[in-house]
């Protein structure tokens, strides 16, 4: 019996054979070739079961922009601010009973009074607006321009605009 070549077995396992039937028929009848195929298959399995390793560090850092450092206040300034806050809190707590005694003596306007004041301000504003008039605009003598001159001016300005933009964008397009 003629055995299958190693090349044929490799191509069979790699699914590169157009016609697999002749090889399969031979393998069914030949124990030697079936054993060679099994050994090759075992090698495939071993190779493909190789575990993946992990990286010890990320490779992405190199491609990321440097993080913007957050401004750090000097330590003495932070401490001073904390002390000030604590001091202010203590003073407020100590002064609270005295302030509570003084509060009734302060006269605060009622909501009705505030609304009345707002209403009178609004009426005064409306009065001002009703009597307001713009200052007279001085009259200029009329300028006579023929339609031809006007067209020429418009064409010239458009041309200048196009040339100017072209020059401005030339470097960017490059």
């Amino acid at each position: 019996m003629i055995h299958l070549t190693d090349e044929l077995l490799n191509e069979y396992l790699d699914h590169e054979l157009a016609d697999r039937a002749p090889v399969e028929n031979h393998l069914a009848a030949c124990a030697d070739c079936a054993a060679r195929l099994a050994a090759l298959k075992a090698l495939f399995t071993e190779l493909e079961s190789l575990p993946e390793l992990e990286l010890t560090h990320s490779l992405a850092a190199r491609f990321l922009p440097d993080p913007v450092p957050t401004p750090q206040l000097p330590r003495w300034l932070t401490l001073t601010a904390c002390l000030q806050a604590a001091l202010a809190l203590t003073v407020i707590m100590a002064a609270a009973p005295f302030v509570t005694n003084l509060l009734p003596a302060i006269k605060t306007p009622s909501i009705t009074e505030i609304l009345n004041q707002l209403q009178s301000l609004w009426i005064a504003w409306l009065d001002f607006l009703s009597s307001f008039s713009l200052p007279a605009i001085p009259q200029f003598p009329p300028i006579e321009i023929s339609s031809l001159v006007l067209s020429l001016i418009l064409a010239g300005v458009s041309l200048l605009w196009l040339v100017g933009n072209g020059l401005f964008l030339k470097n960017q397009i490059k």
């Binding site: 490799n10 090698l43 071993e46 190779l47 493909e48 575990p51 390793l53 990286l55 490779l59 990321l64």
Partner: protein, 175 residues
């Protein structure tokens, strides 16, 4: 919110968005590193090559065909880069003492797997560079003979003979 697709990230990276490319690197760095490690069997070198692969990819992003998948493409770039490096070096570099560890296995089983993995990696590292490349592209990147031929610029017959010989050598060394 759904994570952006590779395609979105590539388009953003092309417009200069460094964070988008950083995200692509994060997604594929492990697989690219493993390609390089299988090819070189040396951790430091594999990390350098993986980094270089991403640098190369970054510079070629403008010409990358957006219809293709990024993962397979970057792994092929890595395999080619490793092949070029190995061919330039020629003498086989000193093998790494890295071990394959799986924390979920028992110590004895883990040791057994580590030893066998190490033998396989050692056997792979002992192959000529071209043989390593065809094994990498066929077994780990699942390319067809025609695709390997195009990728390595080898005739089809060369791909077949490289694969058969590489496997024969591996089988002998792993007995």
């Amino acid at each position: 919110m759904d994570a952006p697709t590779d395609r979105d990230l590539i388009l953003r990276a092309r417009r200069g968005d460094a964070e988008a490319f950083g995200e692509l690197v994060t997604r594929y760095q492990a697989s690219v590193f493993n390609v390089c490690y299988r090819m070189t069997h040396e951790r430091r070198e594999a990390e350098d090559l993986a980094q270089e692969t991403f640098l190369r990819a970054h510079s070629r992003l403008g010409t990358f065909d957006i219809q293709r998948e990024f993962g397979p493409w970057i792994r092929r770039v890595a395999a080619n880069l490793c092949l070029n490096r190995l061919e330039a070096q020629r003498p086989v570099s000193e093998l790494d003492d890295e071990r394959d560890a799986d924390p979920t296995q028992s110590p004895e089983a883990a040791l057994e797997v580590r030893e066998r993995s190490e033998q396989i990696r050692g056997a792979l590292a002992s192959l000529p560079a071209q043989y390593r490349a065809v094994i990498e592209l066929r077994h780990y990147q699942e390319l067809s003979y025609n695709e390997i031929s195009a990728e390595l610029n080898l005739p089809l017959s060369g791909v077949k003979s490289h694969l058969f010989r590489a496997r024969k050598l591996l089988a002998e060394r792993l007995k």
